[in-house]
C-alpha cells in the first residue's frame, strides 16, 4: 500500500483513463438507484399527499411507523428481502435473488420512507390556501394534486435528492440482495467494500471520489433549488 496521495493519484488515473470495469460499476450503480427512485417516488408522494391532506383513522400511527422505517439499517432491509427472495422464502419462485431487480427492490424499500417523510414535510409547509384556491378555480382532483406538487416542488426535489443520495451509497442491502457479481450487480459501495478487503485501495478511493462528487453535486443542486424556493421579498 502506498501513501494516501499515491493511492489517490492512482485512483484519479483510473477514473480519467476511462477504466472500463470501473465505469461499468458506476453505470450499474446509477442504473439501479435511478430505477429504484423512479419507481418509489410516485407512490411515496401519493402517500405523503394523503397524510397531509386527508384525515383518516390511523394517520398519526402511519406517520410514526414511517418515521421508524427511516432509521432501519440498510442491512436489515437487505436481510428481510433476502429471506423473502431466497429459494425457501415466500417469493423464492420469482428467482430474483442476486439480480439487479432484487437490488432495486431493496433500494425502493430504503427510499420510500425518506420520500414519504420529506415529502410530507414539504407538502405540510405548502400553504393550504393553494389547494383550496386550485379547487375553487375549478381544478379537478388530479390537476389540484399536480398544482400542489408544483407549489411544493423545491421541498419535493430535496426529498428526491436526499433519497437518491441515501440509496446510491448504501452497501448492506446491495451486498445481500445483489451478491456483488462483477459486470452484473457490483455497484459502487459493494465494489469499495470488496476492493478495500483485498487491499486494492486505488479503485476503492476512485469509487469513493465518485460518491463524494455525487454527494457534492446533489448538495450543491439542493442549495441551488432551495435558494430558488425562497419567498419573494
Amino acid at each position: 500500500m502506498g501513501t494516501l496521495s499515491d493511492t489517490t493519484l492512482a485512483a484519479l488515473n483510473l477514473l480519467l483513463s476511462g477504466n472500463a470495469e470501473l465505469w461499468e460499476i458506476i453505470a450499474i450503480s446509477f442504473r439501479v438507484s435511478g430505477v429504484a427512485i423512479l419507481i418509489a417516488s410516485p407512490p411515496a408522494l401519493l402517500v405523503a399527499f394523503l397524510l397531509t391532506y386527508k384525515r383518516f383513522p390511523g394517520r398519526r400511527l402511519l406517520i410514526s411507523i414511517n418515521s421508524t422505517f427511516l432509521s432501519i439499517p440498510a442491512v436489515v432491509i437487505g436481510l428481510t428481502f433476502f429471506i423473502l427472495l431466497s429459494r425457501q422464502g415466500p417469493l423464492g419462485e420469482w428467482r430474483l435473488l442476486f439480480t439487479q431487480t432484487a437490488m432495486v427492490l431493496g433500494q425502493i424499500a430504503l427510499a420510500f420512507p425518506i420520500l414519504v417523510a420529506m415529502g410530507h414535510s414539504a407538502l405540510q409547509a405548502a400553504d393550504r390556501r393553494a389547494w383550496e384556491t386550485a379547487r375553487t378555480l375549478g381544478a379537478n382532483l388530479m390537476r389540484a394534486v399536480f398544482t400542489i406538487m408544483r407549489e411544493a416542488r423545491f421541498g419535493l426535489m430535496a426529498a428526491f435528492l436526499a433519497a437518491f443520495g441515501r440509496i446510491i451509497a448504501e452497501v448492506g442491502a446491495s451486498m445481500m440482495l445483489g451478491g456483488n457479481i462483477l459486470h452484473y450487480t457490483r455497484n459502487i459501495p459493494t465494489a469499495i467494500a470488496l476492493e478495500s478487503s483485498k487491499g486494492e485501495f486505488a479503485q476503492g478511493i476512485a469509487l469513493g471520489l465518485v460518491l463524494l462528487t455525487l454527494a457534492f453535486t446533489l448538495n450543491a443542486l439542493l442549495q441551488h433549488i432551495q435558494g430558488k424556493g425562497q419567498p419573494v421579498s
Binding site: D127, R129, A130, E132, T133, A134, R135, T136, L137, G138, A139, R143, T147, R150, E151, P231, V232
Partner: protein, 239 residues
C-alpha cells in the same frame, strides 16, 4: 318581480367540538344581488363561506341549486362548479400574473383564445403593467385584483369573498369595489363577509349578520354604521 334563486340553503348546522358555530342557518342567494355578511370575530362568517363553496363539510344542511333540496355532500360538485370563494388574503400560485389568470381557464382551449381571454381579464382588472410580474411579489391590493380577474375568467354564479377590503388602502379599496360592482352588473351573486360594513354601503342589497350562531337580516340599513346596535330589535331572523 324578484330575481330567480340561484341557491337556497336551509337548516345548516356546524359545530367545532362543543362549540356550535352555525345554527339553523337559512339563506337565499339571487343573481346580481350583493349580500353583506357581518359578525364579530369567530362568529362563523368564514365557516359559512367555506361551506357554501364546498370546502368545509357542515354537520347538517339542505341545499337547493335548482334541482330540489339535497344534502351538502350531494350538492358539493354543484357548489364547486358554480361557487367561487376568495380568501381574505388571496393565494397566488408560483408564476407570473398571466400564469395565475390562465389557471382559472379550462384546459383544452386553443392557445389564441386562451391568450385573448387572459388579455381581456388583464384589461378588466387594470393589470396591464403587471402581467409578467411574479404574482407572489404583488401588493395586497394587486393580489386582490388578480384574484378578482381569475374569478371573472372563471365566471361563477356566486362569488364569496372573505374580508375583500381588509388591509387595503383607499385607492385599492375603490378599485376592488369597482370590480365588485361590475360582477354585480353581470348578474353574479355576491356574498361578502366583512367587519367593515360601511365600506360597502353603495354596493349591498341585503345586510346579513351572524349573531350568537344565528343568521339574521338587518333591515334598517342605517344600522350598518352602528355595529354595536346590531343586536337591536330591528334584526329579523332569516330562518
Amino acid at each position: 318581480m324578484s330575481n330567480p334563486l340561484i341557491l337556497t340553503l336551509s337548516a345548516l348546522n356546524k359545530r367545532f367540538g362543543k362549540r356550535q358555530v352555525l345554527q339553523e342557518i337559512e339563506l337565499v342567494l339571487r343573481p346580481g344581488e350583493c349580500n353583506l355578511l357581518s359578525g364579530g370575530n369567530g362568529a362563523g362568517k368564514t365557516t359559512l363561506l367555506r361551506i357554501l363553496s364546498g370546502l368545509e363539510k357542515p354537520d347538517s344542511s339542505r341545499i337547493d341549486m335548482g334541482n330540489g333540496f339535497q344534502s351538502w355532500r350531494r350538492s358539493r360538485a354543484d357548489l364547486q362548479k358554480n361557487v367561487l370563494y376568495l380568501h381574505q388574503q388571496p393565494y397566488m400560485f408560483d408564476g407570473s400574473v398571466r400564469y395565475n389568470l390562465g389557471y382559472a381557464l379550462p384546459g383544452g382551449l386553443p392557445k389564441q383564445l386562451r391568450n385573448n381571454m387572459i388579455d381581456s381579464a388583464i384589461d378588466w382588472a387594470e393589470l396591464n403593467h403587471l402581467h409578467d410580474t411574479p404574482a407572489k411579489s404583488l401588493s395586497g391590493g394587486e393580489r386582490q385584483r388578480v384574484s378578482l380577474a381569475r374569478a371573472w375568467l372563471r365566471n361563477p354564479q356566486i362569488l364569496l369573498m372573505d374580508e375583500p377590503t381588509a388591509n387595503l388602502d383607499q385607492e385599492a379599496r375603490r378599485r376592488t369595489l369597482d370590480l365588485l360592482r361590475s360582477f354585480k352588473k353581470e348578474g353574479i351573486s355576491l356574498l361578502l363577509a366583512s367587519h367593515d360594513p360601511i365600506h360597502f354601503s353603495s354596493l349591498i342589497d341585503r345586510h346579513l349578520h351572524l349573531y350568537d350562531s344565528h343568521l339574521v337580516e338587518i333591515e334598517d340599513q342605517k344600522l350598518m354604521q352602528i355595529p354595536q346596535l346590531q343586536s337591536h330589535v330591528s334584526l329579523r331572523s332569516t330562518a
